[in-house]
Symmetry: C2
Subunit: 322 residues, 2 copies
DNA sequence: GAAGGCTGTCGAAGCGCTTCGATGACGTGC
DNA sequence: GCACGTCATCGAAGCGCTTCGACAGCCTTC
């Protein structure tokens, strides 16, 4: 490569990195050679010499109860964002547990890591602390001391749903939530949604009840609500896969929007474009997480919790309380 | 590291790789030091010296019409299989197009690549050929010369559905397929399913018609079939997200299994355990693909097309024709 | 008991980069 | 016109491994 351009290897390196000034004529010659040869620096050599791999790890959950399309959207946005910062993405599953993190960190395979779906008492958090590897968490654990976390402000999202309904005059609302297992493992986003929603309900004097749900039990949940809550006029659904079976079941009981006001949380609206919803901004979250990680890799102190403001989009499924 | 164990660096390397015999006593000492220090070889140094990165790339599709949970299952199984061969997985999306492949190949970032969701006239195939990078395709393009491909035998799967219904005496069957865009881009699996299913129908003298479908149009498809095909007794559905809306729509017309026999292709049965189905063995496909890729990286000639035999599981949704 | 063959280990070279100090070729200021 | 910056480039060292050849010690074999 250096030979083809008639310069020394160090010059090529400086053209590529821009760490020293190079005359425009030389730089052009080097770039032409790069083009002509289809040259790509050897990643291993580069990481050995520079102590940077230009790779970040992404730890994806593989639990049954996570919403897969959302996780995938997220993963793709992380890859896209990483590429725009000249990094690649190594895919880590939980198969190896925290040991996988140790391995890639100790072997200098990655410069940093993005961890998805962090629970309140997540076992990976202490590992990350001890590793000294730059990391950004999606989700917020209990103790965020020294960590960098990004997430949707689920408390605000939960509250926004209640407030929207309260403003429309609803006073009797049900919250159909995640599967029970999600609450049991103390998934941060689920807990915070409930907290925000309960706080807002208290403030607004709205009667609310919480109902964990899965697609298979949606029918029963709906039947139970119709039976036990005759005054119910509002429904908040925080469980994407259950939205369709749930609303179908309500429909069978003659309860349909907008007579029954429905707000969904998640990104199901491309499929059901008439539903009032709070969307999960997966792409923005991925981009933010990667951006923060890049800063952290550069040595900046970016610790702290970034919560994205939720946006509630009002559509046809909510209306003034009857 | 070598110092801690009181041996030379080369000895450590030989203990790790097993490429030369090392006395058990020395080997033990080295392993103890590794353990004690939490030592992990520097990945870059290793790849520079050995010309092996121990990383494979996985190219995932990000089209709207691929079934995301299936893709995810697949991706996870590739990671798991790769780890069992001591490799990691670099996640590539189509964002960069074929250039991403070039980049990771030229930079020696990966030892090989698994490409998902290959179409009959896939643009990545010529790139792969020219790169000389070991690769395994999931899906079968038109010209497989010199390639290694793995897939479910979709033709056999399509045929199996028809044969099962034919054996039960059905003579009037509809095939509800993928969204139109899938056929338009000549996705191999969709074409081959249709081919297998049409061949079997011809051989068995079964009347069949093909109906592309999306979740949003499932209702209309069902209505159309009820209206135009009064003699219809069998339904084959090759479109996971549409299964539920489609069957719901049929139910509204009073057509339910087993009076109407239904066979689904895909892995929706954990959710709907009463449906006769042909499952997509995503995990096995991932494992096979990685296994073949590893052999290819070792220099074996593994070119050829591996088609996994489909298994039809008979359940309650199919019965003798009325 | 000398020649030859194994085994187990070491030393050194080299993988392809980055980075640091050095250096030559220029201007600049007085 | 000489000392002194500045700019552009080079050479060499070194990153932490793998691998190859060498070799010491030991066991066979006639």
């Amino acid at each position: 490569m250096a030979r083809h351009a008639g310069v020394s290897p160090s010059t090529v390196s400086y053209v590529l990195s821009g760490k020293r000034s190079i005359s425009e004529s030389t730089a052009r010659r080097v770039r032409e050679s790069i083009e002509a040869l289809g040259y790509e620096p050897h990643a291993g050599a580069r990481s050995l010499a520079s102590r940077r791999s230009n790779v970040i790890a992404l730890v994806v959950p593989l639990r049954e109860d996570v919403h897969v399309p959302a996780a995938m959207r997220f993963a793709v946005s992380v890859v896209t964002a990483a590429r725009s910062h000249d990094h690649d993405v190594l895919l880590l599953t939980q198969g190896e547990g925290p040991d996988g993190l140790r391995r890639v960190a100790a072997g200098a395979m990655v410069d940093g890591v993005v961890v998805m779906d962090v629970a309140a008492d997540d076992a990976r958090v202490p590992v990350l602390r001890s590793l000294g590897l730059p990391s950004v968490l999606i989700g917020v654990p209990e103790d965020t001391e020294g960590l960098t976390c990004v997430d949707l402000d689920f408390a605000a999202a939960g509250a926004a749903c209640v407030e929207h309904l309260a403003e429309l005059g609803h006073t009797d609302v049900a919250f159909v939530g995640q599967p029970p297992s999600v609450y049991e493992r103390r998934s941060g986003f689920a807990e915070r949604t409930v907290a925000g929603f309960e706080r807002a309900a208290r403030e607004r004097g709205v009667r609310v009840t919480l109902h964990p749900c899965e697609p298979d039990t949606a029918r029963e949940v709906a039947a139970g609500l119709v039976r036990d809550r005759p005054g119910l006029t509002g429904l908040i659904v925080h469980n994407e896969p259950s939205v369709v079976p749930l609303l179908d079941a309500f429909e069978e009981h003659g309860r349909v929007p907008p007579e029954l006001s429905v707000v969904v949380m998640g990104s199901i609206t491309p499929r059901l474009p008439h539903l009032t919803s709070v969307e999960l901004p997966a792409e923005e979250l991925g981009g933010r997480a990667v951006g923060l990680l890049m800063d952290k890799i550069e040595g900046e102190d970016v610790s702290g919790v970034t919560l994205l403001e939720p946006t509630l989009s009002v559509r046809e499924s909510t209306a003034t309380a009857p």
